[in-house]
């Protein structure tokens, strides 16, 4: 298995994501890896190895075969020439006449091929061919031929034609082991075109042998790349699937290699993740159910208490002062408790995503006016409204009522008069029409530190004011209700002082009521 190290990527735990495969992998890194992908690198490595091994084998084979081929030809030629030279009786001193005839005889019996024979003796130059001296014979060979009594040979390439040149000195035998050069040196020049053809054929054969090897190496390279890349692809798919929330995603484990280990580790990690997420969800669901159950359980006693507080209130005037105060306190607190439980119920419905939108097309100005009327705020001179007629929107009247009532109530409690309620429509940045409701007051405004938390549950901007008439859930419920309408709500401060809450709800003319 060829491993390709990845630069700049620390080795982490077993569940390390495949490079660039995960949905969260930054695109910058992905594009860099893509440019020189795993598949390309694997193929390149395979081809390199195949090329080196095939090339080396071919080169060595070629060299050996060529040497053997040439060696045989050379040896034959040299020994034949030597024999011929020895067998020929040379009358010394040599006469130029008749020499060419002898040389021609020698040339005819050349082995393995006819050769051209030259003789050099002092100033005498004779040849079996047309030129008395061959241009192929190098000074090097001349020197070697006179020095070595057994003769020398050299391969020479001239004008693209290879020649074998042999130099053979003739000697006098002066003793059993001693000889004396006679001065006559014979040269044979043989064309080695046939050998060259064979050698060329060898070269082509070697090359032709190596190339299919390379081509054949592509197949296992592709197979190996596929076997590596398929698990990587599976890993990527699985990681993406996990990312989109399907935590039960697993990868099939094949074989026992490193990739199978990786898949195993991934599966294990996914299992652990699924378990912990499952536990978290369960805990969350339990907490929600608990809140909902508590609220339900509180409702029944509250129903009884609330039913009798009116009786207490009505009769308080007839009781003595202390008892009357106690009775009024109980009555007020019961009312608050009832509001708190209602708000808790509402919040737990939002948490359980059980809150539904029962939309109706309503006249928004009319709806706001009714909300103010129902809370006895309609004739309140602390409230100023600017409600242009004719704005109709699909809203859940009950939820919209809660939104407006909470914002106005909040402004009256924590802000300062006058509270202004403005209604308008405007085009949002994306070009769709939105309904805008602004509730502003002239109070001290919201402290900067409190702004980010203003919609949190039970958040109290002023830590000293531990009790307020509201449940502490009003703005959180308002936020949820606005979100349910697909809208947004912002809190801010006016330049001249005072807080402003801005509700934006898209004016969609989509599916109509039942």
């Amino acid at each position: 298995m060829i491993t390709v190290p990845r630069p700049g990527r620390p080795r982490g735990g077993g569940n390390e994501r495949a490079d660039g495969a995960g949905p969260a992998a930054p695109t910058r890194k992905r594009s860099r890896v893509r440019a020189f992908g795993l598949r390309t690198r694997l193929l390149a490595a395979f081809l390199l190895v195949a090329a080196v091994s095939a090339g080396t084998t071919s080169a060595l084979t070629y060299r050996e075969a060529r040497n053997a081929l040439l060696q045989t030809a050379q040896d034959t030629a040299v020994s034949t020439f030597r024999d011929q030279v020895e067998r020929t009786g040379w009358g010394l001193p040599l006469q130029e006449e008749g020499l060419e005839e002898i040389l021609r005889d020698l040339a005819r019996t050349g082995k393995p091929r006819p050769w051209v024979v030259f003789a050099e003796y002092g100033s005498i130059r004779a040849s079996s061919g047309e030129n008395p001296v061959s241009s192929v014979i190098t000074p090097q060979l001349r020197r070697a031929a006179t020095a070595d009594r057994y003769g020398s040979f050299q391969r020479v390439v001239k004008d693209g034609v290879p020649y074998l040149t042999i130099g053979m000195p003739t000697v006098f035998k002066t003793g059993p082991d001693s000889v004396l050069p006679s001065g006559l040196v014979l040269y044979a020049v043989m064309r080695m075109t046939d050998e060259q053809v064979n050698v060329d054929a060898l070269l082509i054969a070697a090359r032709n042998g190596a190339l299919p090897g390379l081509a054949v190496a592509l197949v296992p390279a592709l197979l190996a790349a596929r076997s590596v890349l398929r698990p990587v692809r599976e890993l990527r798919r699985a990681a993406r699937s996990m990312g989109s929330g399907r935590l039960d995603t697993r990868i099939p484990v094949r074989g026992r290699d490193e990739l199978a280990d990786l898949a195993d580790t991934f599966n294990e990690s996914a299992g652990q993740l699924e378990r912990s997420v499952g536990e978290l969800r369960e805990a969350e669901a339990r907490a929600r159910r608990f809140a909902s159950d508590v609220s339900h359980e509180l409702r029944t006693p509250l129903a009884g208490m609330l039913a009798v507080t009116e009786v207490l209130d009505e009769d308080a005037d007839r009781l003595d002062a202390d008892t009357a105060q106690a009775v009024r306190l109980v009555s007020t607190e019961t009312g608050k408790l009832a509001v708190l439980v209602e708000d808790l119920m509402e919040i737990s419905r939002f948490d359980a995503r059980a809150a539904e939108l029962n939309s109706d097309e309503i006249d928004v100005a009319e709806a706001i006016r009714k909300t103010l009327q129902a809370r006895h705020w309609a004739d309140d001179d602390r409230i100023r409204t600017e409600l242009p007629a004719g704005i109709r929107a699909r809203l859940d009247p009950r939820r919209f009522d809660v939104v407006i009532a909470n914002l106005v109530g909040n402004a009256l409690r924590h802000g300062g008069a006058p509270v202004s309620v403005l209604l308008r429509t405007e085009a949002s940045s994306s070009g769709t029409l939105v309904l805008v409701v602004e509730v502003a007051d002239r109070g001290p405004g919201i402290p900067a530190a409190a702004l980010p938390h203003i919609f949190d549950r039970f958040y109290k901007a002023d830590a000293a004011r531990t009790r307020s008439p509201g449940s502490g859930l009003g703005l959180a419920i308002t936020l949820e209700n606005v979100h349910l309408h697909g809208g947004t709500i912002r809190a801010g401060n006016l330049p001249g002082g005072g807080a402003v809450f801005t509700v934006e709800i898209p004016l969609r003319a989509e599916e109509a009521g039942r």
């Binding site: 509250l302 129903a303 208490m305 009798v308 009116e310 009786v311 029962n358 009714k370 009247p397 039942r514």
Partner: protein, 227 residues
């Protein structure tokens, strides 16, 4: 002032609501179970039934269905479960209104009065008996019949029918119907209207899926006719 039968299993709530309503001038009889409540009906002859949804044994929904089989007694559901599902189940069983607990006697009293209010809208200057197709509506006798067969309509259903047919072909939004028929001055939800329309259709229409008398105008509301 009016005779109210309260069916509620929790003694504290029963006592409290009884006390509160009695102070507001109602003649209240209380029963702890649905069975007791049904038994008290014949003897007490209430003008209205306040019915808890969660009861031991027979549930409020079952009691409601049983009563609706033969009686047009106004019924208000008293429920601790304000979730959409529970409300709709209660309404579909034939209740005229619902109150989510906890509620002040003031609110309960207002709802009782609204449900009991005399159904006199549109009765002046019109013939007492109107005929629309197979449907005959008697505005004085406060009855309706279809093809000569009298219909058993719950008070809210009858009031809805009277209100819609008083102005044929006029479209009423759910909000308008809530205010005119149920007298809810604040924003209650349209589920009350939808559930009531569904029940009314079940009684007067030939094909519920293709209503002839009470028609839906998508995005606007409901209207009576055109036939």
């Amino acid at each position: 002032m009016s005779r109210v039968l309260l069916v509620e299993d929790d003694p504290f709530v029963r006592e409290g609501v009884q006390l509160g309503l009695r102070r507001r001038g109602h003649d209240v009889r209380a029963a702890g179970t649905g069975e007791d409540g049904l038994a008290a009906l014949a003897e007490f002859r209430p003008d209205l039934l306040l019915l808890d949804l969660m009861l031991p044994g027979m549930t409020g929904v079952q009691v409601c269905r049983r009563i609706r089989e033969h009686s047009q007694l106004p019924i208000i559901m008293l429920t601790a479960r304000g979730d959409d599902f529970d409300v709709v189940i209660g309404l579909e069983a034939g209740a005229d209104d619902y109150i989510v607990k906890p509620a002040r006697p003031e609110v309960i009293d207002a709802r009782i009065r609204a449900v009991l209010r005399r159904m006199d809208d549109g009765s002046t200057g019109r013939p007492a008996i109107e005929v629309y197709g197979d449907l005959t509506i008697d505005r004085v006798g406060l009855t309706a019949s279809k093809a000569g067969r009298p219909l058993t309509l719950a008070p809210s259903e009858l009031r809805l029918l009277l209100h819609l047919s008083a102005a044929p072909e006029q479209v009423f939004s759910r909000q308008q119907l809530l205010e005119n028929v149920w007298e809810h001055t604040f924003h209650a939800d349209g589920r009350l209207v939808d559930a009531c329309v569904a029940r009314l259709r079940g009684k007067i229409e030939d094909e519920v899926g293709n209503p002839r008398y009470v028609q839906t105008l998508r995005g606007f509301g409901y209207r009576f006719g055109p036939l």
